[in-house]
């Protein structure tokens, strides 16, 4: 007693409706299905699982193996993440270190921090320079109105940018007055402002 349709149905190669159509006309399949039903009914009525210590051991082993696999997978994932974070942190540290070195690197022969007397001298000259620029500003700013609107806006934006730069330097110097590099940036900003005001006066004059 054999039928290809029965085997295909059992192996999931054809769907139930297809098999049902065939079943209506196939006595061999009808017999097989009937026998299956009886075997399954009988099996379902068994009081307890068939004695099979190996089966349950295998099921337990499978579950344990699955749990271990999940655990290992999680551990590997954490391990990978940890290494990725460490790599990122290392790259950032190196980047920040190198960046800081090149930004704040003292010029040859120049001390990184200004000594007390030198600092006073620098501050005095800075104040004088700033006063001179303020005077230039007082003369230049009224002249700005003589420029055409576009040029006036351009110079106003430029001066505002320089002012912001000067303010940032002064703020940094309040915390660290001996830092020669910030002093140099401040000086550069003041020079930039002086040049801008001078240009402004020339254009207006």
């Amino acid at each position: 007693m054999n039928c290809e349709f029965y085997q295909k149905r059992e192996l999931g190669e054809i769907n139930e409706s297809e098999f049902s159509q065939h079943l209506a006309t196939c006595s061999a399949c009808q017999k097989l299905v009937e026998q299956d039903a009886r075997i399954l009914t009988l099996a379902q009525n068994l009081q307890k699982p068939v004695a099979s210590p190996l089966l349950w051991a295998k099921i337990e082993n499978s579950l344990r193996a699955e749990q271990q696999k999940d655990h290992r997978h999680r551990r590997i994932n954490w391990s990978e993440q940890k290494w990725t974070l460490l790599r990122i942190a290392a790259v950032l540290l190196i980047g920040i270190g190198l960046g800081s070195y090149f930004i704040f690197k003292p010029k040859p022969g120049e001390p990184r921090l200004l000594a007390g007397a030198a600092l006073q001298q620098v501050e005095k000259k800075e104040r004088a320079y700033a006063e001179a620029i303020a005077e230039l500003e007082r003369a230049a700013l009224p002249q700005m109105a003589k420029l055409d609107a576009e040029l006036m806006l351009l110079y106003r934006d430029r001066l505002e940018t320089i002012e912001a730069q000067i303010a940032r330097c002064k703020e940094a110097l309040a915390d660290n007055p001996s830092n020669a590099h910030i002093r140099r940036y401040l000086l550069a900003a003041l020079q930039d402002k002086k040049e801008t005001l001078r240009e402004l006066l020339q254009l207006a004059g």
Binding site: L11, G12, L32, L42, Q44, L46, V50
Partner: protein, 82 residues
């Protein structure tokens, strides 16, 4: 491929014992699939997950288990009936 099974009336308890004996003669993996499917009434995909098998393999194992049980029960003095 399949042996035809004669239907007759025998005490139910004998049939159970025969079926248990027949199931115990199945190969380990086949027995596991069949017992989980027929006795524990699990779905094929659940069995596949528990036993780390593909659903196709589970289907094939159940199919072959039923074929073997038919033969084994047909050889037994009593036949399959309810």
């Amino acid at each position: 491929m399949f042996e035809e099974i004669e239907i007759s009336h025998t005490p139910r308890i004998d049939l159970r014992l025969q079926l248990e004996e027949a199931i115990n003669t199945l190969p380990e993996r086949m027995r596991a699939c069949f017992v989980l499917f027929a006795v524990e009434e699990m779905k094929q995909d659940e069995i596949a997950e528990i036993l780390n098998l593909s659903v196709g393999t589970v289907k094939a194992q159940i199919f072959h288990a039923k074929a073997r049980l038919r033969v084994l029960l047909a050889d037994a003095p009593a036949e399959v009936t309810t």
